[in-house]
Symmetry: C2
Subunit: 388 residues, 2 copies
C-alpha cells in the first residue's frame, strides 16, 4: 500500500473493459468477430477531443500505466514516473489512454480469456498478432472515444514500434510520435533470445501445447526461464555490475547449487514471481509480434520509403547502455526519418540501466521528455475544426 498517494499521482484509477463488435481482420488472415480491450484513462478529454495521448505497452506491459487500482497496491502503474499532474505527460493538460493489447493477459481478448465461440479459454487458438494489428485495434479504440487525431502516440521498446507503425498506417491520425528505446526491426540476436524463451515455454511439460488452462497447470519453469533471460537483456553489463557485482550472498563460496551470488537470487526471484503472474501463451505471442515487426518489408526493405507516408513530428530516444535495442538502432530510425524528410528530434540518454532505462525517471530523460511534451501541448488545436 502506498503510505500516501503522492500529489503528482493520477491517484486511484479503475480499468474499463470495452467491447468492440466490428470484425477486425488480422495480418495472419483470420478475423476477430468481436473483442474486448481493457483500458485505463487519466486526465480529461477536452471538448475538441484533441488532447489525447495513446500509451503503447511493451512485451509484458498492460493498461495499468499510472496511478493505483486500490489503496492496497504495492506499486503504481508501470510508467507512473512519466504520467501524472505536473509530470512529463501532464494529466492536467492531456487525456491519456493506456490499454492492454489484444493477445495480452490482463483482461483484453487474449489466450487466457474466454472465446465466445467455445466458452473456453482461447489458449493457443488465439490468433498471432502483429504490431500493425494492434495499431488497427487501437484506431478502433480512438474511434470509440471520438478521437480523430492523437496529440501523440508514445511507447517504449515494443511500444515504440507501435507508435512508429501508427505514423505509417494512420498518418492523419497523430500529430506527434515518440519512439523510445526501440528498433526498426529485431536483429538475429534479438530473435535468437526470443526463440530460447519460446522453447523454454513450449517444451515445458506443463505447457500441454498451450492447453494448460484445462489441465489446471501452468508452465511455470518455462515462464521463469524466459523472464530470467529477458531480465539479463533488459539490464546492461555495467548496470548489473553496479547492482550486484560479484557479491556473495553468504560472504563466501559454498560448493553447491544454492544461489551463491546476489545476481542469481535476484533472477530466480524475478523469474518465479513472473511465472505466477503472466500468461505463457501471451508471452509466446508477444515475442512473435516482436520478431515479425519489419515496417520496411512492404516497401522493398526501404525504411525511409515506409516512413515517407508519415505526417507527424517525431521524437526518438535511446539509452547508451541499452544493448537489446542499442542507440545505433534508434539512430537508424532517426536517419530514415531524416531521409524521408520528416521533422525528428533525437536524444541519446547517458544511463547505466540498459534497456530498462526507458522506465526510469532519469533526470535528463525526464527533462527532454517534458520539453518535447510542451511542443505536443503547443500543437493542440484549440477547436475541433482545427487540425495540425
Amino acid at each position: 500500500m502506498p503510505e500516501i498517494i503522492p500529489d503528482d499521482s493520477v491517484g486511484l484509477v479503475q480499468p474499463e473493459k470495452i467491447l468492440f463488435n466490428q470484425p477486425l481482420e488480422l495480418a495472419c488472415g483470420r478475423t476477430l468477430d468481436q473483442y474486448h480491450l481493457m483500458v485505463e484513462t487519466y486526465g480529461e478529454l477536452n471538448e475538441a477531443r484533441s488532447n489525447a495521448i495513446l500509451i503503447c505497452h511493451a512485451l509484458s506491459g498492460n493498461h495499468h500505466v499510472a496511478g493505483y487500482n486500490s489503496l492496497d497496491d504495492r506499486k503504481p502503474g508501470w510508467w507512473d514516473s512519466a504520467i501524472g499532474p505536473g509530470k512529463p505527460i501532464d494529466t492536467n493538460k492531456f487525456f491519456v489512454i493506456g490499454l492492454n493489447n489484444l493477445g495480452g493477459c490482463h483482461g483484453s481478448s487474449g489466450p487466457n480469456q474466454t472465446n465466445p465461440d467455445t466458452n473456453k479459454p482461447y489458449g493457443p487458438d488465439f490468433p498471432l498478432m502483429t504490431v500493425a494489428d494492434w495499431v488497427n485495434s487501437q484506431a478502433r479504440l480512438a474511434d470509440h472515444f471520438g478521437i480523430e487525431q492523437w496529440a501523440a502516440v508514445i511507447g517504449g521498446s515494443l511500444g515504440g514500434m507501435q507508435a512508429l507503425q501508427w505514423s505509417i498506417d494512420y498518418p492523419q491520425r497523430l500529430r506527434h510520435c515518440m519512439v523510445i528505446a526501440a528498433a526498426p526491426k529485431l536483429s538475429a540476436q534479438n530473435i535468437a533470445f526470443n526463440e530460447v524463451a519460446r522453447q523454454a515455454i513450449s517444451k515445458d511439460p506443463q505447457f500441454h501445447n498451450g492447453h494448460y488452462y484445462e489441465q489446471d497447470e501452468v508452465p511455470k519453469v518455462g515462464l521463469m526461464l524466459a523472464r530470467m533471460l529477458g531480465h539479463i537483456t533488459y539490464l546492461s553489463d555495467d548496470g548489473m555490475r553496479d547492482k550486484f557485482g560479484r557479491e556473495l550472498r553468504e560472504g563466501k563460496i559454498s560448493f553447491d547449487f544454492n544461489p551463491q551470488f546476489e545476481v542469481e537470487s535476484y533472477l530466480r526471484y524475478q523469474g518465479e514471481r513472473f511465472s505466477t503472474e503472466f500468461d505463457a501463451n501471451t508471452y509466446l505471442l508477444m515475442t512473435k509480434a516482436l520478431d515479425y515487426y519489419d515496417p520496411a518489408a512492404d516497401f522493398n526493405h526501404d525504411l525511409p520509403a515506409a516512413l515517407k507516408r508519415a505526417l507527424c513530428k517525431f521524437m526518438v530516444i535511446s539509452f547508451t547502455t541499452d544493448w537489446r535495442f542499442s542507440p545505433e538502432r534508434s539512430r537508424a530510425i532517426t536517419d530514415a526519418l531524416v531521409e524521408a524528410g520528416k521533422q525528428v528530434s533525437y536524444a541519446e540518454i547517458d544511463s547505466p540501466q540498459g534497456h530498462d532505462a526507458f522506465l526510469i525517471p532519469i533526470p535528463r530523460y525526464m527533462e527532454i521528455f517534458r520539453a518535447y511534451m510542451k511542443r505536443v501541448e503547443a500543437d493542440i488545436p484549440k477547436t475541433s475544426g482545427e487540425t495540425a
Copy 2:
C-alpha cells in the same frame, strides 16, 4: 569422414586413459582418492622433456584437440586449426597434450563415470571443481609424463583461466602462458547467463536431481536450452547478422511456431545435437567452475598481487566483437600483468565472430599465434639441466 587427411594434420590419434592413484585434495574440502584423466598427445617429447605444451579446454571441450580418432570422423579435434605440422603450435617442434578435465564427460573421472566406491555413476555426487583443482590435476599429469616445466600452457576462454592459474600456482613449471579470449573473473552478467542455463537443466523433470543415469533418461530440454543460450553468447550481434540476418526459411512469415528465421532453426539444431552428446551434470559443474574463478580473491582482490608470483612470459589475445569476455577483460589481465612487472604481449584481433573467434583460423590471429610460438620455441632449453 575426411576425404583425405591433410598434410598439416596430426593425422589419426588415439586417446589414452591414465589412472592417478595419489589422492587429490579439492577446494571444496573433499578428496578424490583416485581418478582417471583422458588424454591425447601430438608430436614427440624431446629428450630433455622441455618441449611440452599443455592445452586447456573450455566449457564443452575435451582431450580431442587435433587430428582424427577414426577415418569415419566428420570433423577433426576442436582446435585442429592451431595444432599440427607447420601450424602455429607446430607438432614438428612441440609435444602437445590435451586432456579432458576432471568432472568432464569424455572419459576423465566425472559425473557420467563409474564411482569406484559405489560401482555406479558419480552423478551429482562428483565433487564440484575449481580452476585451481584442475591445475593441480594437470600438474600430476605433467609429473606422469616427467615434464618438469611446460614450454607453454595455452587455453581459450575457461581454458585461458586455467593457463593464468598455472602461472600463479606453479610459477616454476611453465615458461610461457597464453591466455586467449578469457577474463580475470566472471561479470554479474556472465554469472546470470550461467544461472539461467543451470536452472534450465536442474528444473528439467528428466534431471531427477542429477540421478538421471539410473532412470535411463537425460534432461534433453534443459541441455538444449543451455546450449542455445550459450551459442548466443558465443556469437556477436554483428556475426549473427552476417550469418543469419533476418533470412526467412520459407521466404515469408507464416503465423505459427515453426522456425521462421534461419537463426531459429540453427539454434534448435545446435541445441538438440548438444543435448544428445553432453552430460548435464558436467555442464552444471563447468559453469560453476567459471562462476567461482577469481584468482585475486585470495590476494585481497588485488590481481597484480596474485600475478606477482608468476615467473613466465605471457601472451594475451582478445577479439573485438567478443562480448562474453570482451577485449576490456583481456586488457584488465594485461594491465595487471604489467603492474606486476611481468613480460606480456597483448593482441586484439579484429573479427566479427564474437567469442567463437578463438577457435577460428583468422589470418592475423594465426600470424600472431605463430610468431609467439617461435618465441616459445626459442626458449626451449636444449639440455635437461637448463631451464629458462
